[in-house]
């Protein structure tokens, strides 16, 4: 017969307290581990060279000791070399490029995605299931395979010429190949399919065309999903690294990630960590702001992508 365990109120409360301390303690520890790199990045960016190179490292800076010289130095003009006349870290140029690329890619992606998701969710056509399966299968293929040929294709299109590439050509090269996302088509199609058929039939009876139905009924209903797609896709340009570096001929056409690495090493091979961390902070902050603004949509969207699999 099962034993009965007797515990008094005090012991019960103590057990609950201990269990809570253990759980919260563990979670807080992980949270600190997650936050430390951000803290270290920002802290270092506010230190002077002497502080950065002090051993053991300084863990805390009072507000009055913060130095913004690392930041202001980023915008100083380079005196000599191939980048003479440009800022050391042309953050605003990179930002402008990144925002533009992000905007154009997202605009293109959302258009191709909405149209295709509509066809898959609402229209009947021969080979629909096969085509959809083929599209899904492409998600399995590592992107590196495409990049090789795409680079040649961009060349063929005349968008990449070492001597004559214009800003427009660079922008085209960076955006057009990325106006595709099978994953978002899949995601949006799920949302579209939840819209009851009755609405469609009712619209048909009223003489609404398919396109108008898509525009006036489906898009507004699926707006939360579309917004999520827009936000997630926009963040992509911040991480783009290899492609922009491949298809642009000049530094001033490139995106934030490209500017980060390689710079801040002087001719003797010494890295200026303060400037490096200041640049990293500048690149990180807009993303964090974006995240906190759209926290719910981002986490919902990313979370849902996991549930489907």
């Amino acid at each position: 017969m099962a034993e009965i365990f007797v515990e008094n109120e005090k012991a019960y409360k103590r057990r609950r307290l201990i269990s809570n301390i253990v759980t919260f303690g563990f979670l807080s520890l992980v949270a600190i581990g997650i936050l430390i790199p951000f803290y270290w990045m920002i802290l270092t960016s506010l230190k002077s060279i002497q502080e950065i190179e002090s051993v053991p490292p300084i863990l805390w800076l009072n507000f009055s000791d913060w130095k913004i010289t690392n930041y202001t130095d980023l915008f100083l003009t380079v005196q000599s070399g191939e980048r003479a006349g440009e800022p050391l870290f042309p953050f605003f140029t990179y930002m402008k490029n990144t925002v533009l690329i992000s905007f154009l890619t997202t605009l293109g992606t959302i258009i191709t995605t909405i149209l295709a998701a509509f066809a898959f969710a609402r229209l009947n056509f021969k080979g629909k299931d096969t085509l959809f399966a083929v599209l899904l299968a492409t998600m399995m293929v590592p992107g590196e395979i495409f990049i090789l040929t795409n680079f040649l294709t961009i060349n063929q299109f005349g968008w990449y010429d070492i001597l004559t590439q214009t800003y427009t050509e660079a922008v085209l090269a960076m955006t057009i190949p990325f106006m595709i996302s099978v994953f978002y088509v899949f995601y949006l199609r799920q949302t579209f399919r939840k819209i009851p058929d009755e609405l469609y039939f009712a619209a048909k009876v009223d003489g609404t065309s398919d396109f108008k139905y898509l525009l006036k009924i489906m898009i507004p209903i699926a707006m939360p999903t579309i917004v999520t797609i827009i936000i997630l896709n926009s963040m992509g340009a911040w991480s783009a690294y290899i492609w922009p570096a491949m298809v642009t001929t000049q530094d001033k056409y490139r995106l934030v990630s490209n500017g980060l690495r390689g710079a801040f090493t002087d001719t003797t091979g010494r890295t200026d960590y303060g400037q490096q961390m200041a640049a990293a902070t500048l690149v990180t902050v807009p993303l964090i702001i974006l995240f906190f603004t759209f926290r719910k949509q981002i986490m919902r969207g990313v979370g849902r992508s996991g549930i489907k699999g």
């Binding site: 293929v141 190949p177 595709i180 690294y241 960590y273 990180t284 993303l287 996991g306």
Partner: protein, 302 residues
Amino acid sequence: MEKRNNLKAWLYLAPLLILMGIFIFYPLINAFYISILEEYRPLAPGGATATGYTLSNFARILNDELFWQAIKNTFVVAFISVPISILISLVIAVSLNSIPKLKALYQTVFFLPYVTNAIAIGMAFAFMFHKDYGLINLMLSWLGIDPVNWVGNVATWWAQMGALLVYTIWGGLAFKILVFTSGLQNIDKQYYDAAKIDSASKWTVFRRITVPLLSPFILYISITSMIGALKAYRTVIGLFGERLGAQQNSMITIVAYVYKYRSAYQDVSAISYAASAAIILFFITVVFSLIQGVVSRKRVHY
């Protein structure tokens, strides 16, 4: 009705399919084609040239020590970081699920790595791992451990790999925690009540209730993160820059190997080597997906 819809459907699909044709399907097939071209020079003045078909591109890759270095590095990253990060994020998700308050706050903090720039944070990590000025060695010294040269010029392979693994795991937790927490919310709370009635300990509940009921999510996460880890690249760039390691190429990965040739496309066969390496990577990911597909059929149904 059917016929009209047919035409209309293709019109709606046209923008996506045209772009995919140019930038996905054609390059996919072309990659295989490029990989078997002999002395291929795609950017030769006056047009692309090749002298014939050959398998020597693959042979050259497979005889390249650097390629095997890349395979080794990539596999070590994948096989160590994926299981560890899955386990940690499972425990975190279960803990998150059990707390009455502050859940949203913790979730937000844990999600931060997902929305940051891999290169920027990689640089922050590199500096954290700095032998003299870094935080990691300072913390180790509190535990009485001598400073380790993690990412400096003379760092050992395992030290570099250690730093890379820590960064990879750190960056991979966010997505997994999010997926597992939403997975946990899908599990009927009654199973946990039933387990309590059945006198199950916390560990038993985790092992015999939570993990099996979460198994579809765990499988999904292991496939995606395995494939993700096999494509490791930006973490290496973030930590080590274009040198791809504390020593030249010491932390090179398969993807980095593919890209190694990118500045040399004018050269004979460079792009063919890159294509061959990319195709090998492709087959490795396919094999992993298949293995995991078989596992899922055997272990993940109820």
